[in-house]
Subunit: 268 residues, 4 copies
Amino acid sequence: MTEHDRAATVPSFPTSIGISDPDTITVLGQDLAADLMGNVGFTELAMWLVTQQRPTAGQVRVLEAVLVALADHGFTPTAIASRLTYLSAPDSVQGALAAGLLGGGSRFLGVTEDTALFLSRALAEGPEPADDASFDALALAAVQRARAERRLVPGLGHHLHKVTDPRTPKLLAIADREGLRGPHLRLFEAIGRVHPQVLGRTLPLNGAGTCGAALADLGLPPDLLRGFALLARTAGLLGQLAEERRRPIAMDIFQTVEQHARYVEPGQ
Amino acid sequence: MTEHDRAATVPSFPTSIGISDPDTITVLGQDLAADLMGNVGFTELAMWLVTQQRPTAGQVRVLEAVLVALADHGFTPTAIASRLTYLSAPDSVQGALAAGLLGGGSRFLGVTEDTALFLSRALAEGPEPADDASFDALALAAVQRARAERRLVPGLGHHLHKVTDPRTPKLLAIADREGLRGPHLRLFEAIGRVHPQVLGRTLPLNGAGTCGAALADLGLPPDLLRGFALLARTAGLLGQLAEERRRPIAMDIFQTVEQHARYVEPGQ
Amino acid sequence: MTEHDRAATVPSFPTSIGISDPDTITVLGQDLAADLMGNVGFTELAMWLVTQQRPTAGQVRVLEAVLVALADHGFTPTAIASRLTYLSAPDSVQGALAAGLLGGGSRFLGVTEDTALFLSRALAEGPEPADDASFDALALAAVQRARAERRLVPGLGHHLHKVTDPRTPKLLAIADREGLRGPHLRLFEAIGRVHPQVLGRTLPLNGAGTCGAALADLGLPPDLLRGFALLARTAGLLGQLAEERRRPIAMDIFQTVEQHARYVEPGQ
Amino acid sequence: MTEHDRAATVPSFPTSIGISDPDTITVLGQDLAADLMGNVGFTELAMWLVTQQRPTAGQVRVLEAVLVALADHGFTPTAIASRLTYLSAPDSVQGALAAGLLGGGSRFLGVTEDTALFLSRALAEGPEPADDASFDALALAAVQRARAERRLVPGLGHHLHKVTDPRTPKLLAIADREGLRGPHLRLFEAIGRVHPQVLGRTLPLNGAGTCGAALADLGLPPDLLRGFALLARTAGLLGQLAEERRRPIAMDIFQTVEQHARYVEPGQ
């Protein structure tokens, strides 16, 4: 095969996101400067980029509320990891942000995605329930199956908010007002009603799980919801790093760990 | 020192970002559910988290335009790196996002921050210029000094938009409309006017640099502006990953490189 | 609760890895300067750090061979992602390395770990086979079950080495010479013998899978083997970055993708 | 330009690292299975990958000692960040490793590289000193200039080892034994002798700095030395993660921070 033949095998790389020429930048089929800047909000663009369809105003309002709900709530392991990384490598803000986002996996940020997946799988098994009683029946079956398989029901319970996670009723009200309290949120509410009769105790619907249900009702793909939790958290981590610059604590955290280290002989 | 004495040395870790009790989540001194969700946009919260002061509506509108301008513009090295990482590790969306953000360093995303630093240093050397002529004089001195020190003037020139970067006039108009065309933007415009007499050719003010000047005029710390470029880019990378799932190209990119690899003996 | 009481709740943080005082650094119970430096190799220390038991000379020789086998084999998606990240952020070598490692997930580097897990689960179901015939029977059952569950048998097949992956016989010979051709390697070899009668075609045992089996026979925990593949790859990525500095190609890769981009209207 | 013309512009991508065909894997011009596995150690291969020249046995022994010296020394901010990331995302070992490496920047791991750069710049200003007296003169000039420019001399001083860092004399002895106590190490030793007359106090040569000088004497490029510190640290982080699985402490660290959080009103 000659050099020229080899070159001829190069495929084209299709994209609908962006393309530029000397005078224009096109993003999602729109003129970035003329049509998007000043006319479209950042949250709206974020959803548009993922779905490649322009969201409605109501969808944007629900997504804004979800991103606000998930942005930050104090010292999490990811916030601490990001501050410690910034302490070690203050020249690389991108590294400190990335280190914080890398904690966005199965345990801490995963609830949002796990809840949406749990709900969408339950909904996929039959026609959409027509009323609350039908949602309750579907919820009961889903919770019973999870229990039989010794799996947790994602989105249920919170280590601190034992009775009510305050984000949950607020997000439900916002989605309802926008006409976006769809099957995922309704099934999640049904789980909130029926789970005590299976689990023998009453747990709150947590905010991260409610956010997952709300995002699924926006039509976002359940297995990419983690990405929106990470987008929200990026803003939170920026706040953590700005505060770390203003009033540093990472060195104190490190020294606290170092001072309370206890050496144990290997193998003990 | 006894165990108890050691324990007593643990410091407290101050934060103004977030704290929770069983019934309430407080973020930035506000009740998250009652006061922020549904009332405050995500962009507004992002700026509030960084400055710890509530931004004005005009500041939020300028920041929205900046984030929209920077979110994505097609295949960048960071977008490609993120897609390739997703190809290799599709189970870890956070890893693919982080890999994309890690390219947000000195060369590609750095222009925003570099421009703001260049402008703020020039402005720090004297009182704020009172009129366009004074801005021109300050700009001339700054460009001359950069040239004497053989440094590039950040924000000047673009590999594709040789005459005008379309984002620049649009962002200037938005900032002007909001009363936020401040000293950084005005000095940057002055650089646009005076640089040809020093450099001997006319270069456009690029969009990333204009964004940096606009962010500095919002009062954001120049050495943390990269963080806002990274926040914008997080949304862009989410779009890239969603598209990669819908219509994958990373395998084709990898195979193109592999097929055009040319082995060279070491030491040649 | 008073400040003092709160402080008193701080736990101690046990570790056997390292501790220092003004005159001595202790690592794994050894004096780092007096006992480890100059006496213990880096590969030996890496295994010791993970198992917290000093490996034998034979174990170290097998591990050296595995790390050499996995370090690099040309342009992989992770190598390309690392080079592109270095192009964008040349000030942050750690970011470029991290971006490359983040591709070490389920698809590309995962084979090593997946193979070890597959083998160890099959071995866990009964007593260790006593002879090749018993290994063949166990292998046959494992391959049949995988096929019935429509799962791939990890470690079987290679996109390029269709007949023999040259690393496989070499690693088997090294492990055999060191008396470390244990049950995982023997079961993997048995899979190589019996799979054609289930799958209807003959596939090679690939090198990454053989490495996983060899590491499991060293007594390393199957679900942490990915870590050794990542250690090996760190050296490979260093080589890629050193070469990128000497003879850069990342810009050419980026421009190839950019020039072959094809814009598609969203929704098509 | 036609599609075919565009394709014809694809460049080739040269590399000397690796290439494969169905029967052979070639790494650095060697047959991986036949010539490298079992014959070449991992440390040797790592240096070969970076320099693309086979190192001598003495060079490998010095590099082994450096990697052992830098692998781990207990709870560092990067070790803690890695453990916290593993706590949040235990499904992604690569993410936890990457988070730990991202702290390998200017402050913590940077000393190795900074010291090598400082020494190589001083050496570049004239012919190599012929004897200890000439090294002392060069060292004196370098320390005086750093002090005049209010810059720290990298590699001097340690927060814990106030008199002697035990790694320093050991590494000097190893390099000397191998005939590799070259100009960087000799200049660093001279700095150890002369700095008190400039700084007015006696500081130890720290181990990380000595490692940087030793790596520079191996002929490694000063601005890539950070990469070897990161390779060493990868093994240390693997040890930290293995211990975190065996005897977890990250949750205790997180809860210690959470319990000692002190909320401060924004703006105070």
